[in-house]
Amino acid sequence: MALSEELRGPETVEALDKSQPKDPEERSILASRIILFVVLFLLWMVFSGKFDPFHLSLGVISSTIVSVFAGPLIPELRGKGLMRSWGRFLSYLPWLLWQIWLANLHMLRLSFSPRVLDLIDPEIITFNPGLKKDLSKLTLANSITLTPGTITISISTYGTFRVHRIDKVSAEGITSGTMIEKVKKAFGES
């Protein structure tokens, strides 16, 4: 455990020294490590497909090493209410998949239509959704890019998005603000 304390930033180590061992911060760090370990070990079992003690113990060893060393690299994975925020995020995914499906059908129609050059109207639109967390900006950017017809070009430091859209219909989810509201709700920023 000495090594993993070295890997953390100095301010985190200081906070840990000041606090009692059972405070919520340290408990949530431990919880995030355990979740990471479980996910890694499940992946190991799926990919190896061997359930004899030798292969399972190899999996336990490597998952432990990775979860101890990689925990401090992802600061968003710790913090209070980890399980609840994952639950909210997972409830956002079905809506996103449905939007991707609808937009794919639109894009497919566009791609096969005989008058494709009349139907498209490409433009770069700029907007500021007012998101605070980096993780929610990342999610919104990836959701926009995943939805066919819109691609995120860049996010500025102030949270301004530049998006390339292929026609007006594709960008409706963004310009009407539905997707932004959903992302804000999923990350508890509304």
């Binding site: 794919n104 497919l108 566009l110 096969f112 066919p148 691609i151």
Partner: protein
């Protein structure tokens, strides 16, 4: 019954893949071509992978179940990496100064 479902899924996925290729050929410039190239392809491979996963799991035992989970994980990783790659290419083109095609 399930066999028909996987056939429908795989054929539908191939329609999406074909639509992606046709879109790349027909759209006017680089940025508009990235739309079918990045998205219709990931939807097509998701549907094909879903069909293959159901088909493999039809003969139900542990090894086949693991194989179908792996096939589904391919789709998950495509959906994680494809938007990032599309964004990177488009961002690089904007930085290099390529003007987007405009109507009229």
């Amino acid at each position: 019954m399930l066999l028909a479902l996987c056939s429908i899924l795989i054929i539908l996925g191939m329609v999406f893949l074909l639509g992606g290729s046709v879109g790349i050929l027909r759209l006017p410039d680089f940025y508009t071509r990235m739309h079918p190239a990045g998205k219709l392809d990931s939807m097509g491979s998701l549907l094909v992978n879903l069909g293959v996963a159901i088909y493999v799991a039809l003969d139900f035992n542990l090894a086949n179940l693991l194989t179908s989970i792996k096939v589904l994980l391919i789709a998950v990783f495509i959906y994680l990496s494809s938007p990032t790659a599309t964004h990177c290419i488009v961002d690089a083109a904007i930085r290099a100064g390529l003007e987007p095609w405009k109507k009229g």
